[in-house]
């Protein structure tokens, strides 16, 4: 009986497992194999030659290849950390504001917040590159009205990456607000009523009821925000091309430059493997942290 059950389960799972194997696992394994090869993306796989850890040695080495990779890795880490740190609290704040059903215009505000997520990145890039323009840009003109001098935004290595982060936060916060609202709807109203009867004020209710019960939602939001941020490509390709001085050069954009533009498939694959490993480590650490908190 159990044998027949296992066989039928296997048959039913086979299509999905095969598809995942062909379209997800196989490309991943191929990328890992290529990371140990010297291979031009313009030649067949048969022309790849084994170089062991040579590509990894190169991308962490002192030459321009290593320097550019390490800069791109660091930029991606900064971009991801800043994006998550800004998006998650803002999404909770906006979620709490919008979730107040009795507030007039709540639905309209929710629509406006989510609409930024639906705008195509090319349109966002065009508008924001003009907003950030050093002399005639509206942002600097607004700052001028309150007595703050013009900021270099995208023109300075100190602020280019942060400027891209702000653009990302503006575009993504609506989506994460919707997730936060979904989490808030799952919290029973009776808990707040009981807390109110017990004399808990709004801040205490947020700290001891809302935040703990939003933990699962926030974990999901954090994982999605990290994956989205690590995969950032479009704003960099459309606005800064990684500059100035490589200050906004993120890994996906750099891998495209190395692997496709320069056809250095082995080096590009080694960089992609490192990106994948970094992502796995980050997400696993996050899950481990939340699970530990849960067990406490």
């Amino acid at each position: 009986m159990a044998k027949a059950f296992r066989a039928s389960a296997g048959i039913m799972l086979a299509p999905a497992v095969t598809l995942i194997g062909v379209f997800v696992l196989l490309p991943m394994l191929l990328t890992i194999w290529l990371s140990f090869q010297d291979w031009s993306t313009q030649t067949p796989f048969s022309e790849a030659s084994f170089v062991g850890l040579g590509n990894f040695h190169e991308i962490f080495g002192p030459t321009s290849v290593g320097r550019d990779f390490k800069t791109a890795l660091l930029n991606t880490a900064i971009y991801t950390a800043l994006s998550v740190v800004l998006i998650l609290p803002l999404s909770v704040v906006f979620g709490l504001l919008v979730y107040q059903r009795e507030v007039a215009g709540g639905t309209a505000l929710r629509t406006v917040l989510f609409s930024t997520y639906m705008v195509p990145m090319i349109a966002v890039a065009l508008v924001w590159s003009k907003l950030y323009a050093p002399s005639e840009g509206p942002l600097n003109q607004l700052l001028g009205l309150v007595g703050i001098g013009p900021q270099p935004w995208l023109s300075s290595p100190r602020s280019a990456l942060i400027s891209i982060v702000l653009l990302n936060v503006w575009q993504q916060v609506g989506y994460f607000t919707v997730l936060a609202i979904a989490g808030l709807t799952q919290i029973p109203g009776s808990l707040y009523e009981a807390a109110t009867l017990d004399g808990a004020n709004g801040r205490e209710q947020f700290r001891f009821i809302t935040l703990p019960l939003l933990r699962r939602t926030l974990l999901f939001s954090a994982v999605i925000a990290i994956i989205n941020a690590v995969q950032v490509f479009e704003p960099v390709a459309l606005i800064t091309q990684g500059g100035p001085v490589g200050s906004s050069n993120v890994l996906t954009y750099h891998i495209r430059r190395v692997g496709i533009e320069r056809a250095q498939g082995g080096l590009g694959s080694a960089m992609a493997v490192m990106l994948m490993l970094s992502l796995i480590v980050c997400v696993s650490a996050l899950f481990a942290f939340v699970n530990r908190k849960d067990s406490e």
């Binding site: 005639e136 390709a237 100035p244 001085v245 496709i260």
Partner: protein
Amino acid sequence: MSLARISKLALAAALVALPATGWAQSVNISYLTHWSPETVALLEAAAKDFSTTHPNVAVTVRAVPFGDLLTTLRSQGGSSDGPTIGGIYDLWLPELARDKLVAPAPDAVANEVKSAWPAGVVSAASVGGTLYGIPNEIDVYALNYNKELFKKAGIAAPPKTWAEFKDAAAKLTDKDKGQQGFGMINSWAAGVVHPFASLLVSNGGNLVKDGKPALDSPQAGETFALYEDLIKSGVSNPAMATADANTTGPFLDNFVSGKTGMIIMANWWESALKTGMGDKFSQVATAPIPVGPSGDKPHSISYSWMTVVNAKAGEAEQKAAWEFLAWLNSPKSGKNGASAMSDILMSMGILPSRTSDIEAHKDKLGSEFLSGYVSVLADARPFPVVLGGQEFSESLQQTLEALQYGQVSAKDAQANAQADATSILERAAK
């Protein structure tokens, strides 16, 4: 005659006629370029003219931004369904030829090119003596300056030496008005490297000599030091320098709005300046690159573009593509003995490279803006076309940008640039 016999004869006749029918069928070829929609329309009109004499060949034109051109060629050029013809920058040719993405020119085309184009341009379109493309444009760098700002600053003539150049840049700088004397470029590899290389060759130096990087020379050291001086003295502001190959961004905005006194740019810049400045375009003048303390006379950097044919395209498509390109670049296709290609290029202010095209466009090439470029062409040094050239260029861009933003000293920038270039060119040559 029996029915069976008639059927056999009909089948045999059909088999014999099949290859001829195949040749008579239309051939579709595609042309990948980075030109603007207005220029693409001119190319499409030329393709239409071609189809009147070649009704079986249909040419479609596809345009992508310059920044995506190489990626598109690399990602789609390896397939028979990729673009049949591609317009490419000469620096990309060695690697595209090594990876067998571009087809060698047929003998007839190669012989025509070798006899009708200057030898230097032919060599930039060749790898190991084999011609891969039909050259079309040549670009050269010169000093552009705003005559109105020069007049206001009391500068009578464009600078001829680096000393005069630094002096003029200081006089043109007015920080209260947000005005800089000399505009550098950042965020775009060729835009950063070519003006630097033009100053370097005008100081008697080279980027690459005998296939090896030559950035450790005293002449290169002086050029890095010049950049450091210009930044430290405040006559060049890197925050005003962002640009891309589509000539958008603060670099263009600042020059067209009269906030930058001098820049070093190529001739193809003319159309962007005209669009940005309107009537004020007449304020722009061109002069040779100022000569450095170790230089003998003004030189500048030149580079060329060419059209290549996809080596993976079918035989009929390749044949049609070479026929189209030979026609497009021949004196028969344009006006008054010029090629249709040169007419398209001249609409953008780009210098054609075919000898007969230069003659045919003599009048327009004598305009105040372009004549300054034509005059420096004879002493221009071609940008080194070597394996790894694009990576070398991007690496030098990073170093120069770090120098612009004060992250490294001129001395360190020179050492880094030489070390990086050595490692890149050695790896590419393996």
